[in-house]
């Protein structure tokens, strides 16, 4: 294989092997006094993200339906853009879900 490819792969392998440096050390007596706030934070994350993504998707669908009403022949192209747009907006609300899951996981 070419030298630049070999160099790139070697760099990746070296980063991979440096993993032992991330070993965590033990903690002292843990302080759980803030744990009442974690479920509130997780709920707010989902609530706000879900609400705003719902608004965004509503706007996207409204424009798509209006465009279809003006020009019914553009159905295939509009459908493609609509589905791609909805999936990308959906992914923002799913990022919030991942954070909420991690926050709730911290409780255990």
């Amino acid at each position: 294989m070419r030298k630049s490819t070999l160099f790139a792969f070697t760099a990746l392998v070296m980063m991979f092997v440096a993993m032992p440096a991330f070993a965590a050390d033990g903690s002292a007596a843990a302080d759980h006094s803030y744990y009442w706030a974690l479920p509130i934070g997780a709920g707010m994350a989902i609530g706000i993200a879900g609400g705003l993504c719902g608004l965004g998707q509503g706007k996207a669908i409204a424009s798509a339906v209006e465009g279809l009403a003006r020009n019914p022949g553009a159905r295939a192209g509009l459908l493609t853009f609509l589905i791609i747009g909805l999936a990308l907006i959906e992914s923002i609300s799913l990022y919030a879900l991942i954070i909420a899951i991690q926050i709730m996981g911290k409780l255990q």
Binding site: S4, A8, L12, M19, P20, A87, S91, L94, Y95
Partner: protein, 246 residues
């Protein structure tokens, strides 16, 4: 002994000895936690998906014919044309050499997502390491082709933005947003499939018959859609990386 699917248990029964011996030769982080079951569920399911893909490709290859194309050849051609037309649209000319990678990416992610619907199997993509691996492969691929097409200096220059006096600020922003692409590809794929699994399981817990089928259908649609979105975004990033400024 971790909880294993039947396919994982089968693979571990046959291959546990050699795999554990090999992993023990490597540095400490690679030593298996359970020496009698070194192959994890996600890995075994990935091997299964690769096996299915190889069988499909061999099947298509063995039945290729110019005069009388059969059904499976039509489907393979439709799939190839779909990705190839999209590549030509987004990347412009010279997109032909990226199409095999993109088709493989699409088929791998689609089948990996769908295999979780079958009882007894689990999507490898619900383990967050698998979408991360796919995102890193796509990231390395498009950056490598960008550097190959424009040279390392030319490739870094297109992070600088249009005007030279804003270049330091825009360079930092562009580097951060490029690294964020790995994270966004990973989390999008992982969260969609994981959330689909969680929602389907919750509804199976609530109403045992009938209603969960709707969520299962939604999960199937989301699986294929997310595979398509991953491939589309990789195509867009490829197009941005190899584009020559005229």
């Amino acid at each position: 002994m971790p909880e294993q699917l039947w396919f994982t248990a089968l693979l571990n029964k046959v291959f546990a000895g050699p795999v554990t011996a090999f992993l023990n030769q490597l540095p400490a982080p690679f030593h298996p936690v359970h020496p009698e079951a070194p192959i994890s569920n996600a890995f075994a399911m990935e091997i299964l998906v690769v096996g299915i893909l190889i069988i499909i490709f061999l099947l298509v290859r063995s039945r290729l014919s110019v005069e009388k194309p059969g059904a499976i050849q039509h489907m393979a051609e439709m799939m190839h044309e779909f990705i190839s037309d999209q590549g030509a649209d987004i990347i412009g000319h010279g997109s032909e050499r990226f199409v095999p990678f993109l088709v493989t990416l699409f088929l791998f992610i689609a089948i990996a997502n769908l295999i979780g619907v079958i009882p007894g199997f689990e999507s490898p993509t619900v383990n967050p390491a698998v979408p991360l691996g796919l995102a890193v492969v796509a990231f390395v691929y498009y950056n490598l082709h960008g550097v190959k097409a424009q040279g390392p200096i030319g490739y870094l220059k297109h992070f600088m933005g249009p005007v030279w006096w804003l270049a330091p600020l825009i360079f930092v922003i562009e580097i951060i947003s490029t690294l964020a692409r790995v994270m966004s590809l990973t989390v999008r794929l992982y969260a969609n499939i994981f959330a689909g699994d969680m929602v389907t399981n919750s509804f199976f817990g609530l109403v045992a018959v009938g209603l969960p089928v709707i969520f299962l259908m939604l999960h199937v649609a989301v699986s294929v859609l997310q595979a398509y979105i991953f491939t589309l975004l990789t195509t867009i990033y490829l197009g941005g990386a190899v584009a020559k400024e005229h």
